[in-house]
């Protein structure tokens, strides 16, 4: 049957076998599929059957065939052992399923996400998913810190040692100093002893390793999610304005709200009209216009960089001024503590106001695509925030660390204040950015309209907030608790603001690539910056003498050295000491690892290049095959028309189209059948 010839000279009575041939072919395919599935392991088989594009009944049919095949094959090798192992694996699989279904019912905010996705679409939903993901980081960090660091201390010494003249005044919630300074909130209250209770618990090692392992796990989680995001989203992407993409891939099936659907349809219509009329208007810019645009770009970039640097410098001088004022007058008065609120206030104010200037810039600049515009805005915002954070970190590392006695707690308090003020300003920003814009847009200036939810700006604010928490973990182990509360309230606040004040985004598309960009931004520069700051603190700076778990040591990292010295005495753990001496402390190891990684990256890069060339070749091959196919079909039809006497065949029942990937042979047979029907209709 496979060799059935379609060329001139073939026997016309072969047409009678078309129906049987098709059925036979389909059965063959089914047998091949069953054989392939039998050869796989159980888990892969389940996954493959689940991914088959068939209805439930057909899948059950295939599965029963596969199981019958397997049991026929295995009945000869039946032993108790295989039976037991199969039962055990079945038990574990069923446990896995029930755990997964329980986890799904416990998912946080499932109903709200559905509502938001239904009204505003997938791109706005991605902001809330990102918020939920960051919340998970903080919950994990809080559990780990509280469990390993705080609880042992509380068990050992439940009452904090507060000096007699300090009491709780309301201001502590904002400043974090005063009463809170002596609680377990900050680094300073942790002891450096080995707590003797049920077991001997070394606080120094616990503190160091908890923080280190948490940061490493965060880094791994970020790298993995970045990699998987790149894999699914960073492909040879078609431009978002192409007609085929807009027609077939752009409709968001998530949207269930009638008004949102109507708005989307309107937007799509407007975009299609724009793209149709753009073709007529694509003009080439003259040289002078190009120079003018370039000049405008350069000017805007210089201005924005200058603004960022200026903000950083002003924060530095403000910090110095504040320290002078604190150094001049002694004593702890309410005013003195309130003055510490000045720096976070100014930082948050800058983070709120300066990006508004940046969004004004795009009225003057003309970017060729909207995506470049968003990227430019994101880069400028990132520069601003990074410069402010860098200046603050430099000030803390170099000035605060040398001036104060318990400087880690001071840094922890500064970070606490930054987090609180960031939260207050986020709320304010939501109020001004969205509520007032809506009021202005509907009553005062109706031409502006209701504001859109600015995903880029909001995601950047989230990333910045998380960076503060990451920097602060070393100095204030319970800071993630504040962050959890903050994110919780922020979620509900943003949801209410979104539903009351905003409309769905007008331009759809590229949400997945923006998501990848945001995760990449979260990792580098923000997480890497936070990690390097904590690493620098642990490695270079001398811990304070009077407080904290590392008092008396040269640097924090020497805790591990001390531990290794202790371990050398214990006979069974020589291998740990050996690893420490020869792997972690030796430079050659890191050099070799870097070299190997570079070589592997180079090889993968070459493989990718080769694959891209292969894709081009294959595309060309598809085009050629298409031409071949149409040539052969034409020839077939001409043949049929030129032979007059044929037996009339009943009409082939229309193929229900369940197997849209049927082989070329079946397609050719169907085409021939269609040609025959046309011929018969013609006569």
């Amino acid at each position: 049957m496979r060799r059935m010839s379609m060329f001139p000279g073939s026997d016309p009575s072969n047409l009678a076998f078309t129906e049987d041939a098709i059925r036979h072919e389909m059965e063959n395919e089914e047998q091949n599929l069953v054989k392939k599935l039998v050869a796989l392991s159980t888990r892969e088989r389940i996954r493959d059957i689940r991914d088959l594009p068939m209805s439930c009944e057909e899948k059950k049919h295939i599965r029963s065939q596969v199981l019958a095949f397997k049991s026929a094959k295995q009945s000869r090798q039946f032993t108790c052992f295989t039976d037991c192992s199969e039962n055990v694996s079945l038990f574990f699989r069923r446990c896995g399923y029930s755990i997964r279904s329980v986890r799904q019912t416990l998912e946080l905010w499932q109903g709200i996400m559905k509502e938001i996705g239904g009204k505003f679409g997938t791109s706005v939903l991605s902001y809330f998913l990102f918020l939920k993901w960051l919340l998970m980081f903080n919950i994990f960090s809080f559990l780990v810190n509280f469990g390993f660091i705080t609880i042992p201390l509380l068990v050992y010494d439940p009452l904090p040692s507060i000096p007699p003249n300090v009491s709780f005044r309301g201001l502590e919630i904002l400043t974090g100093a005063g009463y809170f300074n002596y609680t377990v909130m900050y680094y300073g209250s942790y002891s450096n002893e080995t707590l003797v209770g049920l077991v001997e618990y070394n606080m120094q090692l616990a503190y160091f390793f908890t923080i280190a392992v948490y940061m490493v796990l965060c880094g791994i989680a970020l790298i993995l999610s970045m990699a998987s995001s790149f894999k699914t989203n960073y492909v040879l992407a078609a431009p978002a304005s192409s007609g085929a993409w807009q027609l077939l891939c752009s409709w968001d099936f998530n949207i269930t709200n009638e008004r949102a659907v109507r708005q989307r349809k309107n937007n799509l219509r407007v975009q299609l009209k724009e793209s149709l009329s753009e073709k007529a208007q694509r003009e080439l810019l003259t040289l002078s216009e190009k120079l003018k645009h370039f000049g405008v770009y350069l000017g805007c970039w210089l201005l924005s960089t200058g603004l960022a640097v200026g903000c950083g410098a002003s924060i530095y001088y403000l910090c110095q001024y504040e320290q002078q004022r604190a150094g001049d007058a002694a004593g702890r008065s309410l005013l003195r503590e309130a003055e510490t609120l000045l720096v976070p206030f100014v930082v948050s104010l800058m983070n709120l106001v300066v990006p508004l200037f940046y969004s004004l810039f795009y009225k003057f600049e003309h970017y060729s695509s909207q995506r470049r515009q968003i990227y430019a805005l994101v880069v400028r915002n990132v520069l601003l925030r990074m410069s402010i954070l860098a200046v603050l970190c430099y000030y803390w590392m170099n000035v605060v660390a040398r001036t104060y006695s318990c400087w880690e707690s001071v840094v922890g308090q500064a970070l606490y204040r930054l987090v609180i003020f960031d939260f207050l300003f986020l709320m304010l920003g939501s109020f001004f950015g969205e509520f007032l814009s809506k009021v202005i847009g509907t009553t005062l200036l109706p031409s502006l309209g209701v504001p859109e939810f600015d995903i880029a700006r909001n995601v950047l604010e989230l990333i910045y907030a998380q960076t503060l928490a990451w920097i602060g973990i070393y100095f204030s182990p319970l800071l993630p608790a504040i962050q959890i509360v903050k994110f919780f309230i922020l979620f509900y606040l943003k949801k209410v603001s979104l539903t009351q004040n905003c409309q769905p985004p007008r331009r759809t598309g590229r949400a997945a690539q923006m998501q990848t960009t945001f995760i990449a931004l979260l990792f580098f520069p923000f997480f890497v910056g936070a990690l390097s700051m904590v690493a620098y603190t642990a490695w270079r700076l001398t811990p304070s003498e009077q407080c904290g778990p590392f008092r008396g040591l040269n640097n924090t990292f020497s805790v591990v050295g001390v531990w290794m010295d202790d371990l050398e005495e214990i006979p069974g753990s020589q291998w740990v000491v050996w690893i420490y001496q020869n792997v972690i402390r030796s430079e050659i190891f890191y050099f070799l690892i870097t070299l190997i990684i570079l070589v592997i990256i180079y090889m993968f890069w070459q493989v990718t290049k080769g694959r891209k060339e292969l894709i081009c070749l294959l595309k060309q091959q598809i085009v050629n095959e298409g031409k071949d196919k149409s040539f052969l079909l034409d020839k077939l039809q001409n043949l049929q028309k030129s032979q007059p006497n044929k037996p009339k065949l009943k009409n082939q029942k229309r193929h229900t189209g369940r197997r849209s990937g049927t082989s070329a042979l079946i397609q050719a047979m169907l085409a021939r059948q269609q040609a025959q029907n046309e011929y018969d209709d013609g006569y």
Partner: protein, 144 residues
Amino acid sequence: MDYTNEPDCKLPLALIVNMPELKENPFRSRIVESFSEDGMGNLSFNEFVDMFSVLSEMAPRELKAIYAFKIYDFNVDNYLCKEDLEKTLNRLTKEELTPEEVELVCEKAIEEADLDGDNKLSYADFENMITRAPDFLSTFHIRI
């Protein structure tokens, strides 16, 4: 309609299409039809589960691409010809484009996506376009 006594009963198209998740979707009747065995939109329970499992976020890209192709293929001939694309466009824009504009857009779409030059989109062309659209996995998704 009693499921417990008569597990083979089929829900009619009109009932399913009124679900809140599907009510406003412009392709609702096509979605239900492409999962029904008789092609008319009457779903048994298994087919209903099939439909929402393909539209869930766990379904792989190939499975979603196959069913998306079926949904857009209005005349069920395994190809997205120009009439199919025109019907899709009319459903997406509430028929507010002029017929010339509709024709222009559909021609442009076929020109861009058709690789083998037969003036209609086969499944391979469609799949190739889907692989270049990373948002597809998240937009072709209905939450329940």
